[in-house]
Symmetry: C2
């Protein structure tokens, strides 16, 4: 009984991690978590408004998306420091997805955002429950890097309209550039000044403030946190200036009235049309969001030797997105900037997230009048400076040096993302990664090997002085055998056999074959049958244990005209013994 | 000069294989080829009409599709015995593809078939020119087997309407079954008698005629060929009966008037709408056709120790399909039945194909009046008996025993093909094969290893009694490292490290790592950086030559906190030497 209970409670703790860390929560952790929450809350208020702007949603959606999702993640997530909420790339992808089904600013647009969050949450939850987190691995690192870089450029370009105070639209770089250039005559100069100053201040805060503060004798960690929270200063200054000078009356676009309210209860629209239009984008957003989140969570966890359970992370993010769907938000994930700030500010447990949520709830209830005069241009500057730090073309150079295949994948991902938008970009990235992998493994390295004289080693005949025989051919294949290379193996072996009329034995040496799938098994059977018809015996050598276990379940070892040898040397010894005396003599003298 | 000429002429010969075999063509080969062509021509006349019926095209399209394509393949193809023309599965896929854009029997339908052949030909040619034949390998053997089985069932079901003399339509089994059952009251009994008798005769010819003929003292090979050509008897008998008894006036559907003409010159419709609707199906048809064709060609070539060049085969099939597009045909490929008959009848060179084309051209010019009274029910019987030999569920049992992953792929392919039609079926097959492969390699086998006492061997600690140390952890990974398993590797190593507070050295043992892609390189860099932060040195051992060559191009070996050892034993010796005397003592006594 007791052990059954412990088992169940262990399982429960795995799925509701709060039960685990909650038990040892103490006053020290509470102090640290409260301090971190305060810093993060201050940083998140303008950031949430900015990302809502990027997603084309009303500003409060950004704040709502940061409250309940954080709390749900605190209950179900495994990372101690991850801060969940709206992030730049997911906001952009949200805008791209729901821009296809509704007009920005309409009620239908906000409703579609809820549906998107619900679909994304449901999908993540399903992946987590069925432990399918590995699908996120189908995005290769270089493809993700390329995608994030290209997305950063598109996001920055999409925000330029707010800096210039003009209208522009488009989901890819060409559309955006044309649209911006077409409307350039409408530049609103006061807006541009606000935008330019905000951007300059943001850049300076990022680069120059921290050295300045440490120069003033501040502790490095405090200086760093102040520098990160610094943009709030730019927000306050431009808001104040706009309010005092009545710049909104002169055409400067401002955030305006934001309802003073806790997150409302909202019901996502689940009409079949909307679901079928959004399910594809929802899956892409989920995967990209998960990849971004798990990378951050992993990086922070390792610093403290903590563990992240990717499948449980899916459940945490799924719950967070469902939370966003029912409380007026939009798709969320674990954000890099906010999580690092949270970690650096000393957050010890997910409770810091819960306290942040409380701070934001207070802000949503009481502080929204303070952002009435906040100019959109300031928010755009916040976004631009944030995303330009994501832009990093060095991946191209690195890939070029290391692997032309990876270079192809990165550059195509960047080009497709810039040229056709984020959805096609990330899809292309996945497809290209997979195709390149299949291509590389579809033509495995194969070598005809011979014996290094006086040893039991067998090496490539092209690279070493080795002993071979006319009657025996040994081919080493340096790759697992599966459907993508099974036919290539057949082709190569047939070619080699066709060139050798005196051949009696073909040995396939398998020290690097980690698996043989059914296509490859059928190819081996075909090779065996066809060689049999030519009077050539087919042998295997150095087959690994797990591969051999599987082969033993089939008729193949029985059908094999030759034998399966533990080592290549055994094979050569056994087969050479069958030489006729004349052949042995020839072998000795050759 | 001369060697340059020889080089060029060698290259030319590779791309136009007729220049190669044509030089040594003699009277003996001519006799054999002429005999084979006669047999194949007799067999092909009813078969071509039947497949045109299956594709929903006028009967002459089947004959036209067998004339110019065969000749072009004879010039550009590399197989000596492959017979190119309409085949069952491709005919069904043609019907499915153009059924979406036009109504069967209309001029638009036949025009769409030409476009489909042109697109398919162009695609195959491009693949051949850019040597991309490997993409056909992305279809695993079991998936192909499942697809062919399911297609055979759909084809047989689609022909039942001709046997029953009723109307029915549908591209998947459910649609076909419902449609057939709904119209069952319209059964045309005379048609059913013709269909049933034809089917019975075809089955008997297949199973019973050959033993009967050999019983009568005929040579086995002749008996076999007669049995294969035997269906022509059933065709002649039912045609004669229908004509003499005027059964067409009673409602028996017949082939009717077929124009007496050589293949006409036709121009495929290249409107953008049609191309965008057909390009997807054309790619699927090309790939399936290529896979079927190359399998047959390969099987026949090996029997005579001849070679097939897959990329040149693409060019041959591409030319054949373009030929079909411009001469009133529809997509073609190398067929199994006709190629085997051609081979068994003694065809020595592709000239046999050219002679077959001449035979069919004579038939198209002069013999079409003979098939006027040929009942559709007889053709349907021809198709049903032919395709039911493709249906083979034994693949399911074999896959179940060998690999649950392959079993999943086969059964899903069969279910999707039966339930949603051939196009979705084959697409699903490809996607499932790839996903399963990625899934399997995304969780590679990894083992913590220790030293087998008194040896230089290192084995899994869970399976063997081995020596390990608290300060040194060696992990062997049995798979190439790439994007799909890079994160898993990180997860596993971090978990292992998190459990070992005293750890100082982590050695990754790579004897089965055939490649490290850039994602995996970045993961190794991340592992190195994170372990460094924890004071753990990261080492590699037994890295293969090609992998090491690539790593040397990067900063990784320089950044590595530890070293790269040639052998695992060197690693252990080097790292154990750094033990404090107390630790060495502990090691010796443990």
């Amino acid at each position: 009984m007791r052990s059954a209970f412990r088992l169940r409670s262990g399982k429960l703790r795995r799925h509701i991690p709060v039960l685990d860390w909650g038990r040892s929560y103490d006053r020290n952790a509470l102090t640290n978590d409260l301090f971190a929450a305060l810093i993060v809350t201050i940083m998140l208020i303008p950031q949430s408004l900015a990302y809502a702007l990027l997603a084309g949603l009303p500003p409060e959606a950004g704040i709502y998306a940061s409250i309940v999702p954080i709390m749900l993640y605190a209950v179900f997530g495994t990372s101690r420091a991850l801060a969940v909420g709206p992030v730049a790339v997911v906001s952009l992808m949200t805008a791209a997805a729901i821009g296809d089904v509704a007009q920005s600013g309409t009620a239908g647009y906000a409703a579609a955002a809820l549906t998107l969050a619900a679909l994304s949450g449901g999908f993540l939850l399903l992946l987590g429950i069925f432990r399918l987190g590995f699908i996120a691995n189908f995005l290769s690192h270089p493809v993700i890097a390329g995608f994030i870089t290209a997305s950063g450029i598109i996001i920055a370009a999409s925000q330029l309209k707010h800096i210039f105070g003009i209208d522009a639209d488009g989901h890819n770089l060409a559309e955006l550039a044309l649209s911006l250039l077409g409307n350039l005559s409408q530049i609103h100069w006061i807006t541009l000044v606000i935008g330019a100053v905000s951007t300059a201040v943001r850049v300076w805060v990022r680069k120059g403030l921290k050295p300045c503060l440490t120069g003033l004798g501040l502790n490095v960690r405090i200086a760093d946190l102040l520098a990160r929270a610094g943009p709030v200063g730019a927000v306050a200054a431009t808001t104040l200036a706009t309010g005092l000078l009545n710049l909104d009356a002169q055409g400067v676009k401002i955030v305006g009235a934001v309802p003073q309210s806790l997150p409302p209860f909202t019901m996502p629209d689940v009409s079949a049309d909307l679901i079928s239009a959004l399910i594809g984008p929802a899956i892409l957003i989920s995967v990209i969001g998960f990849v971004e989140s798990i990378s951050v969570a992993q990086a922070l966890a390792v610093r403290k030797r903590q563990r992240i359970d990717p499948d449980q992370e899916l459940i945490g993010l799924g719950a967070a997105n469902l939370g966003a769907a029912f409380t007026g938000g939009y798709p969320v994930t674990g954000g890099f900037a906010r999580s690092v700030v949270n970690f650096d500010a000393g957050a010890e447990t997910p409770a810091a997230g819960a306290f942040t949520a409380i701070g934001l709830a207070i802000a949503a209830l009481a502080l929204t009048p303070l952002v009435y005069f906040l100019p959109n241009a300031t928010l755009a500057a916040t976004i631009i400076v944030a995303v330009l730090s994501l832009v990093d073309f060095s991946i191209l150079k690195k890939a070029w040096i290391y692997s032309k295949a990876d270079f192809t994948a990165v550059s195509l991902t960047i080009l497709v993302t810039l040229g056709f938008g984020v959805e096609l970009g990330v899809s292309a990235g996945v497809v290209i990664s997979v195709l390149i992998h299949l291509y590389k493994t579809s033509r495995p390295h194969m070598a005809v090997v011979g014996q290094v004289p006086g040893t039991e080693h067998y090496r490539n005949v092209l690279r070493h002085e080795v002993i071979t025989e006319d009657r025996i051919l040994t081919v080493r294949v340096d790759e697992s055998l599966y459907f993508a290379n099974a036919r290539y193996l057949e082709d190569c072996l047939y070619d080699l056999v066709a060139q050798r009329p005196n051949l009696k034995h073909l040995i396939l040496m398998c020290p690097a074959v980690n698996a043989i799938d059914m296509s490859a098994l059928e190819s081996l059977e075909a090779i065996n049958a066809r060689l049999a018809a030519l009077g050539v015996d087919f042998h295997l050598s150095e087959v690994k244990g797990p591969v051999m276990d599987r082969l033993k379940r089939t008729h193949f070892p029985g059908q094999l005209t030759g034998r399966i040898f533990l080592s290549q040397h055994q094979a050569i010894c056994a087969l050479s013994d069958n030489l006729t005396p004349a052949e042995q003599k020839q072998k000795l003298t050759s």
